[in-house]
Amino acid sequence: MKKNIAVIFGGRSAEHDVSIITAHTPIIQSLLAAGQFDVWPIYIAKDGSWYADRAMNDLTYFTKDDFSARLARQKKVRLLFDNGLQIISPGIRSKTIHIDIAFPAMHGTFGEDGSLMGLLRMAGVPFVGCDIFASAVAMDKVLTKQVVAAEGIPVVPYVWFTKNDWETKKDQYKQKIKALHWPLFVKPVHLGSSIAIAKVKDDAALENAVEVALHYDDKVLVEESVENLIEVTLPIMGNDDLRLAGIERPLNKTEFFDFNDKYLSGGKKTGGVNSQYSQIPADIDSALAMQVEDFGRRTYHVLGCSGIARVDFLIDSATKQVYVNEVNTLPGSLYHHNWKKVGVSGVELVTKLVALAEEYFTAHQDLTYTFTSSILKSAGGSKIM
């Protein structure tokens, strides 16, 4: 019998549209091609409404001009989270589908940041990809740097502050920032897909960029820019035994790899993310490549990633210094174009990820989370703490 698999995508996030692409290319299309699954798309609209209609397995559902009108007519789905995840289809002939495995495909807030994983953990349903903890840490660029640096992996010097910090102690932070080697990058800490990131060369630009970043996030990171920069990224798959994809170098035209390069320029032709504008494997010398792979494995491990993630690196080609920049726990389109180049097809990728999710789930089921206690009996007594 085929397994029921729910692909969850969309969401109240700036990366809502990118999530739709990732969910379809390659996830849903590959799961369907694998022929082993009944695929249930669970779409979370921008307003937070949940839908589950098999017509949404087709990407064109979302790209047609009448999408909004069709969605308005669509009935919302009801879900049960006790003892596994169940979809209750709307209508008179209501049907309950027990989901065997969930495949989160949501980028950014509420999806990739661990929120969804928390919900799925509570439901007790196996799910693909990183768990709540790795997701939450990776979503915060500052936390990532702090965890990675503690492991002795190089990161670019930086300063961070919250909205309140900036409003109340701006001068203090500006002093700290001044001490950094300019030009600098200003980044909202929690957003992915390079949204609201700016490179600044002077104080006025800094002020402006911080203002923009604080519009999107309440925590901001200011870091040195790497000179003679080579940006590379490394998708990694596995729980304990890791498999590495090719080291990939985006061949972007703009000064840094922004949202447009990542998703808009490469995506249209191939239906995926970033496939036309990159070099795989990156043309870097083997010593650097080895370092990238080593830092990649260690970063994946220290963050406690599972299933799949992508580690981004900055390399100063003059000094041969490699820095870990950030970690993405749901690489756009799973970076399937890269996996394909190293011999992993879309079908093999998604079926392997499903197997890894089941392996992770089983391993964690064996852990003891509850124990018998007599504490309740003592409740109402003199003092229990």
Partner: protein, 476 residues
């Protein structure tokens, strides 16, 4: 029940007109398709009705018939009394879809007899007169398969030294050829014609139209066997070209068993080994193309073509020999052969951004072509090979055997991945695969479109994917 009710859908008249249009208004093909079809809800699958004036007229007539039938139902019900009225009513309702399907042919026949046939007769008569007076050397090509390939090779090679023309696409009927003839300027040195065979006598008719001076018989096999019934009849029809030519040069593909059986004294046999007196050596092929040496008459020609597969050596060499016999220089032949490239949908290689090579052979639907292509795929090394097919159509009584043989040869070739489209013939391919204890993966898809959509998600860099044949709606 669902299938039965599909005949009462509002879209039924439209589907009938679509079936007529997709059968190119051939009543025989339309009726064969009609009787094969069970579910009329899914007739327009790969293509849709194109609203040409002819189709619109037929659509209007179809709806006129529907109204007439409805009127008949009312009249019958009112004018007779129970229980006769109920019986008649039931009969009319039951028979109405069939009556409509057949009634649609009436305007078609009237249209054909009164308008189309006289016009076509004039066009063909003019073409015959024009061709008779035309000074060009005319080459006629007949056979169950490979006609377009050798036509294109000949055209490319001969154009190096002579003004050469040939009808485009698959214009191989009297009307198609005649339309092409009206575009000629009159100063062509060579004209090349594909002679299409659909029923016995077709080639003879075409020979009387084009008056060929040289003939090429590309082979005889099961293609259109459903129409010819026996391979013997196919061979006789194809050889109507040789009958017409008599002692004039006829080149026959020696790699086609059935074609060779019928050769006569004086025919020039071509294969990957030789063409008449010309000898072939050093045959090589890979994804980059095919090369060989042609020697004879004191000359040696090193030839290389972009076409893939050793089965192309014979036709390439034959074209070279014909070109030399028509006065082209060895250098012109060499340069012409170099210019030959895979044609659309005939073992045409394409490499995508992720490094997957697709060999589009979707126009190749005959057993000899399939055998040649499997041989080519088997010869490729250091790659994972995929073979995707819905099987072949119109194989008549040989259907089972032809497909089992495809399965057996796939298994023997060690092709790693086989993708089969579910239909009436692909299970025979599976039988053949099992007979030879095939070790690779067999994947099934409900239709070709689903398979084409899934393939990019199953393949990786370096894979070679062969798309063998494609079924139009008639055969779904």
């Amino acid at each position: 029940m669902k299938n039965f009710l599909s005949r009462y859908s509002l879209r039924y008249p439209r589907f009938l007109v679509y079936m007529l249009q997709a059968s190119e208004y051939s009543i025989r093909d339309y009726l064969a398709w009609y009787h094969r079809t069970k579910d009329f809800a899914h007739v327009e699958h790969r293509k849709h009705l194109v609203r040409t004036p002819k189709a619109v007229i037929l659509l209007v007539i179809a709806w006129f018939f529907v109204v007439v039938l409805l009127g008949a139902v009312i009249v019958i019900f009112r004018s007779t009394s129970a229980p006769v009225s109920y019986i008649l009513l039931l009969l009319t309702v039951l028979l109405a879809p069939y009556i409509l399907a057949y009634a649609l042919m009436i305007p078609l026949v009237i249209l054909y007899v009164l308008i189309q046939r006289p016009i076509e007769a004039v066009i063909i008569r003019r073409a015959r007169t024009r061709l008779k007076a035309h000074k060009a050397v005319k080459i006629g090509i007949a056979g169950s398969f490979g006609k377009t390939t050798i036509r294109e090779i000949l055209k490319t090679v001969l154009s190096e030294g002579k003004k050469t023309a040939a009808p485009p696409h698959s214009y191989n009927t009297p009307l198609g050829i005649s339309r092409f003839v009206s575009t000629l300027t009159g100063d062509e040195d060579i004209l090349i014609f594909e002679l299409g065979e659909y029923y016995p006598g077709d080639i003879k008719k075409l020979c009387r139209l084009v008056h060929p001076d040289i003939g090429v018989i590309t082979g005889v096999n099961e293609a259109h066997l459903e129409k010819f019934k026996t391979l013997e009849r196919t061979a006789e029809t194809v050889y109507e070209l040789a009958d017409y030519l008599g002692i004039k040069p006829v080149y026959v593909n020696g790699e086609s068993e059935y074609a060779q059986k019928h050769t006569r004294a004086g025919h020039i046999i071509y294969s990957r080994e030789s063409v008449g007196e010309w000898k072939i050596a050093n045959q090589k092929t890979d994804l980059g193309g095919t090369s060989f040496t042609l020697s004879g008459d004191g000359k040696t020609l090193e030839l290389a073509s972009g076409l893939l597969g050793l089965h192309q050596v014979g036709p390439l060499a034959a074209a070279g020999a014909i070109a030399l016999s028509l006065g082209l220089s060895p250098d012109q032949v060499k340069s012409g052969i170099e210019k030959t490239k895979p044609f659309d949908h005939r073992l045409e290689p394409k490499t995508d951004a992720s490094g997957v090579v697709t060999l589009d052979d979707s126009y190749n639907g005959n057993p000899d072509g399939v055998r040649a292509v499997i041989e080519f795929l088997a010869s490729l090394r250091d790659c994972r090979r995929w073979y995707v097919t819905p099987g072949l159509v119109e194989m008549g009584v040989r259907t089972r055997e032809v497909h089992k043989e495809i399965g057996r040869s796939l298994a023997r070739s060690g092709i790693e991945k086989i993708v089969l489209i579910k239909n009436s013939v692909t299970s025979f391919i599976e039988e053949g695969l099992q007979e030879e204890q095939y070790k690779g993966d067999i994947m099934w898809f409900d239709d070709a479109l689903a398979a084409y959509a899934a393939l990019p998600h199953m393949t990786v860099k370096g894979d070679v994917v062969l798309l063998q044949n494609d079924w139009p709606d008639q055969y779904q």
